[in-house]
Symmetry: C2
């Protein structure tokens, strides 16, 4: 792409560094900002800078939080003995949206991925193990994505917790509610048969 302006070229380049944003899309987004009042660009720039510079994490669950102890960890009604281990803030939001979980979270901040240079020391795993040893936690639910990295991370944490009196579970994988069996992939369908549940339990869930 040949740009008529260096300023435009720079803005498009920086925008196109975001994941899933190609050069053309970046140009469209930047031109949109140019057509809008200067306020909008200022608000966008400031909110990104402010978040990046002032970001803080909950001292207990490591979720993004503006205060030292996040709302969930500070809530006395949540069950401290049940901890759901997730990758990032999106997973917390997704699970909270279901309204089905009254325990606490532990946000790892990623998955072990040697390819991307992420080792156990880059995640909040050591802190989770410390919490596990304190004895308050009775069950941990692993809710990482079922990829190779997710499975590796699950197994690494599982090994670290071995010997502790903590029940370890993973979220159920199976056919999505409302989906047709014939369109499901074999692995998922296979797992949902292996991990079948008593019929009465399925009545309770909805």
């Amino acid at each position: 792409m040949e740009f008529s302006s260096k300023l435009l070229e720079n803005a498009v380049y920086e925008m196109s560094q975001l994941p899933g944003i190609g050069k053309r899309t970046a140009l469209r987004l930047v031109l949109h900002l140019l057509k809008r009042p200067v306020d909008q660009t200022q608000h966008l720039s400031n909110s990104l800078l402010k978040l990046r510079n002032d970001i803080r994490f909950c001292s207990n669950c490591h979720n993004i939080s503006d205060v030292a102890l996040c709302e969930i960890c500070a809530n006395p009604k949540r069950d401290e003995s049940l901890v759901c281990v997730v990758e990032d803030v999106r997973d917390v939001m997704a699970i909270e949206n279901t309204g089905q979980f009254r325990g606490m979270y532990h946000v790892l901040g990623g998955k072990i991925s040697p390819m991307e240079g992420v080792g156990p020391q880059n995640l909040s795993i050591a802190d989770l193990v410390v919490k596990g040893k304190e004895g308050k936690i009775k069950e941990m639910i692993f809710a990482l994505s079922s990829t190779m990295e997710g499975d590796t991370t699950n197994f690494y944490i599982y090994k670290q917790l071995q010997g502790l009196p903590i029940r370890i579970s993973t979220i159920a994988r199976g056919i999505a509610v409302g989906d047709e069996l014939e369109y499901a992939d074999e692995v998922t369908l296979g797992r949902s048969i292996l991990n079948r549940i008593p019929f009465e339990n399925s009545l309770r869930a909805s």
Copy 2:
């Protein structure tokens, strides 16, 4: 969406104001920035702000330009008597990429659209008419998109220029090179038959 942090919520909100970026995508982009060095967010914010604040337009063709007269308008080899009328900088870039055009451009900055509150006075139409009356321009090529707004804008300019000794043309519409006839829409196929060209001309073009 329930956010655990106001800072995060603000950043996601501002990001989701961009066209085609929903809340989920905005969250993904913002979390990506959080995982990257703080530099990247600074570069993005600064380049957007700098462009928005320092943006300048070529005094002749109204294209985005860092200097008073853009590279194309300042080039003595370009044909001043041939002016291609386009909507924005993307069209200039697209036509320049073809390498088929040696004339000048006139960037309107949009199309007449009463629905979006864009009238002729919001576009650089008056300036184009002034240029037309100066007598240097022999031909204008309308290259706006063939929507109702594009057609309205073309017709408005055409009326303003009536009586001047300027040949007015529009770019050819037809089946894209390499496309199958059977998949083309009827309007396009119909136009490409109506506006057929001598066979020798098609040999010249490639």
